[in-house]
């Protein structure tokens, strides 16, 4: 992969984020009622409103406000929350860390379960195991998170069994096992659709790859079944799955918002919902930008991973 490709690609990501920033900034400007109105409430006097507008610079031309906001954002300063009066970055970044932990664990769980499920289904194609995995995947794909979450809560967090806590968050650094215990249900809920989706993907790719000449050739070399499947077939079957997983991340970001709300998990999704409910403009802008950046970066990483696994791909 050439340096010029990397430069081009990173430039493209920056351009995307710039476009997103314009949209995010624009939308918050179009919303009825400005920040001063938000802060002071409906009964504020005109004088008080004018004073706050003057302090926040809300009277100046929009493009100047945008430029100030953008340059501050680039410097890591997302502004001050209108709701709490704290710097937005102090609210958002720890929340982002918690959400990333949630997402990472969900993806890990997905890989650990979905890949073997897909392989087994492909090897037992048309047999009961395949049918069961297939049906499970259909159910998993077709259930929205709030339904999955409810089912998961009913089964695993009911008062009778009480296996897992229904809500809350404990930092892993504080108490590792207790932290994992609290993460279990949100992670499970988020990963159900991913597992269902990716296992179906791996299954169909695996079936195709098992019929290729090179897999037949590997078999005819007398290699063990294990080596034929894991070393010859699997890497080729996983290649398309990488792209799908990267696209799923976009979906995952949306799913996390719902799941965090249901399980009262203090992540970026929850912060974003609170910010929207309170018209906390700086926080909304920061949250939306962070999500867009995450999506762009994950897709970039997926492309790099694809090129690393498939030597035929040469980005130029």
């Amino acid at each position: 992969m050439s340096l010029s490709y990397l430069v081009k690609r990173i430039g493209f990501i920056l351009f995307t984020l710039l476009a997103v920033s314009v949209i995010v900034f624009g939308i918050t400007q179009v919303l009825p009622g400005d920040a001063a109105q938000m802060m002071l409430g409906e009964n504020a006097t005109d004088d008080a409103l004018a004073a706050v507008r003057d302090r926040l610079g809300l009277d100046r031309p929009i493009w100047l406000q945008y430029w100030d906001w953008l340059s501050a954002t680039l410097g890591g300063d997302f502004g001050t929350s209108l709701r709490t009066g704290l710097p937005v970055s102090e609210m958002m970044l720890p929340a982002l860390q918690r959400s990333l932990l949630l997402a990472l664990l969900a993806i890990l769980l997905m890989l650990v379960l979905a890949v073997p499920m897909g392989i087994i289904a492909a090897l037992r194609r048309g047999k009961p195991t395949d049918v069961v995995i297939g049906l499970g995947s259909y159910v998993g794909v077709s259930m929205p998170e709030f339904v999955t979450a409810t089912v998961v809560l009913l089964l695993l967090a009911n008062p009778v069994l009480g296996l897992f806590p229904a809500t809350g968050y404990v930092p892993l650094t504080e108490d590792f096992w207790e932290g994992l215990h609290h993460l279990a249900l949100p992670v499970l809920t988020v990963s159900v659709i991913l597992i269902a989706h990716v296992s179906r993907m791996v299954r169909s790719e695996m079936i195709d790859v098992l019929h290729t000449d090179y897999v037949r050739a590997a078999r005819m070399k007398g290699l063990t079944r294990r080596r034929v499947i894991l070393r010859h077939a699997l890497p080729n079957a996983l290649l398309p799955a990488i792209t799908i997983v990267a696209l799923d991340v976009g979906y995952l970001l949306g799913g996390i918002i719902v799941v965090e709300e249901i399980f009262a998990f203090p992540g970026i999704g929850r912060q974003l919902i609170v910010a929207i409910q309170n018209r906390d403009l700086p926080a909304i802008q920061a949250g939306a930008l962070i999500m867009a950046a995450t999506y762009a970066i994950v897709n970039f990483l997926a492309d790099l991973a694809y090129a690393a696994l498939d030597r035929r791909i040469q980005y130029a």
Partner: protein
């Protein structure tokens, strides 16, 4: 070898279970392969030759219905062995080389790994010893830089080099028997010859008994000790190789042999060419592919464009058959497409009295007069249209539907290509490969063209079907006086039917000569190499 045959196929029969009932793929096949012997197995597609290879390797698809008879490796009945025991035999005592090296090597693994794994699996070598042994093997199969090859991926080397790696892996454990399933069919003529030479060398060096499967009777008769001919799942004849061409016994073998193109058996009269005036000519035709990106354009870096054909000049007389030969990538199809306006070109096409310098100059009269038939009828016939609609299309396009009722004309065209008239209502997938190509021929002739470009139109067909298609083309030419631009990689075939031959190599025309003088005294080194590489039927 006094111990008897190393591989015995004893009255073996095989049926597949299909949705349409049982399909008998092999019937009472009996073969015996002695140590050090090369047995050629020749058959057309669907004859069961590949099924036999899979049966010997015990790599049959899951829909096998019924098997009868025995296949013995030494004295062991392979069908009675467990999967695990069979896995131990494969690659160690019994190996296989596949047709297409570009699909039989794993694209995500280095070439080295794909040999090393065989050695560590079957010879119990540790990784370092296997690595050393692999480099030695790669050197033995004639690769120039064996150590560097170990780290390359399949897409980084040529087709011939890939097949050498596959062969190295097959020979790595000194097996008793090797099956070769059309190992040179996917390669260019000259590369195929080199692989064949390699096969001969390794075979005589190691004395491995080989079953060489191919559709190419001429090729097999040059390398095998004995030749078995298989037809509809039955071995119809087994002969010493030198006898198969001179004294075939079975009726099918005789038909097959008569279908094999032989340059000494001309199918056209040679006078026709010299009398006609020039009909179509190309002067300095150059085709470049790809579009320079904006950045390259600004840098004035035009070199990135790929040249498909470079300054090609030729002329085609009325009623002449002009052959164009060359390996894949030599630019022959590129020129064909440029002539019918599918590729942009620079240079001049002369047609009658007019000069064409670009695709815009191609008017309806030119397009009607110059028709093309493509290699794969599967992709050149619209699967959603009936044969009748497909053939009627040029009639409507060029206003011929006003001269006579379309249905009548279509029926006539179908008769001309020896297909039943009711085929007009059928869809392409209901036809065999040869029948589909006949439909494509009928479509090309619908507009009553003066020139038909045949772009490898028989390369995906069996020899007997190829022979009948060639007969058809010659009959149509005799009736309509059509000139052909006949593009092929099959030198024997083109020497049978062409008046003159254009030899292309890497985008350039290296030689244009009459068939007789080309064979007698080829001027260019590449032409000589090409002539040397092609096995000519003997006897």
């Amino acid at each position: 070898m006094s111990a008897g045959p190393v591989l015995t196929v004893d009255t073996y029969s095989l049926a597949y279970g299909t949705s349409a009932g049982a399909f008998q793929a092999l019937r009472d096949v009996s073969l015996a392969l002695q140590g050090g012997e090369v047995l050629g197995l020749v058959g057309e597609s669907g004859s069961g030759k590949t099924s036999l290879a899979h049966a010997i390797m015990r790599g049959l698809p899951p829909n096998v219905g019924r098997e009868d008879g025995r296949i013995l490796l030494g004295r062991e009945d392979l069908a009675s062995l467990s999967q695990a025991r069979m896995t131990n035999i494969r690659g160690r005592r019994l190996g296989m080389v596949f047709q297409d090296p570009s699909t039989s090597l794993n694209p995500t693994m280095t070439l080295g790994t794909q040999i090393i794994e065989v050695l560590t699996r079957h010879r119990g070598l540790d990784r370092q010893a296997a690595q050393r042994e692999s480099v030695a093997m790669l050197e033995r199969v004639g690769l120039k830089t064996p150590a560097a090859m170990m780290h390359r991926y399949p897409h980084e080397v040529s087709g011939g080099e890939k097949q050498r790696v596959v062969i190295a892996a097959a020979f790595a454990c000194q097996p008793e028997v090797l099956l070769f399933d059309e190992p040179t069919t996917a390669l260019d003529v000259i590369t195929a010859r080199q692989i064949l030479d390699l096969f001969r060398d390794l075979q005589s060096e190691t004395g491995v008994a080989s079953l060489y499967i191919s559709h190419d009777l001429a090729l097999v008769s040059t390398i095998a000790d004995r030749v078995a001919v298989i037809h509809q799942g039955r071995i119809v004849e087994q002969d010493p190789a030198e006898r198969i061409f001179s004294a075939p016994q079975d009726a099918y073998t005789k038909r097959l042999i008569s279908a094999v193109p032989r340059p000494d058996r001309r199918l056209v009269d040679d006078e026709a060419s010299s009398t006609g005036s020039t009909l179509l000519s190309g002067q300095d035709l150059t085709v470049r592919y790809g579009r320079p990106s904006l950045l390259d354009f600004l840098n004035k870096d035009r070199a990135k464009r790929v040249t498909g054909a470079q300054s090609v000049s030729f002329d085609l007389a009325q009623g002449e058959i002009l052959g164009i030969v060359g390996e894949s990538g030599s630019g022959k199809s590129t020129i064909a497409k440029a002539l019918v306006g599918l590729n942009p070109f620079t240079g001049t096409i002369g047609f009658g009295s007019s000069k064409l310098t670009g695709r815009r100059d191609m008017d309806a009269a030119y397009r009607r007069a110059v028709q093309i038939i493509f290699q794969h009828p599967d992709s050149s016939l619209n699967p959603r249209q009936t044969v009748g609609t497909i053939i009627a299309r040029p009639l409507r396009r060029y206003g011929l539907d006003r001269e006579a009722p379309v249905a009548e004309t279509v029926a006539g065209l179908l008769r001309d290509v020896q297909l039943p008239e009711d085929y007009a209502r059928r869809y392409p997938h209901q036809l065999s490969g040869g029948e589909k190509q006949r439909v494509a021929i009928a479509r090309a002739f619908a507009s009553k063209p003066q020139i038909v470009i045949c772009d490898e139109i028989t390369s995906s067909l069996d020899v007997s079907v190829q022979a009948s298609i060639i007969q058809l083309l010659l009959a149509l030419r005799a009736r309509h006086g059509t000139a052909y631009l006949f593009i092929t990689h099959d030198l024997n075939l083109v020497r049978q039917i062409a008046h003159r031959i254009v030899v292309m190599y890497r985008g350039d025309v290296v030689e244009t000569a009459t068939v007789a003088s080309l064979a007698r005294q080829p001027e260019h080194a590449y032409t000589k190499a090409l002539l040397d590489a092609v096995p000519v039927p003997v006897g």
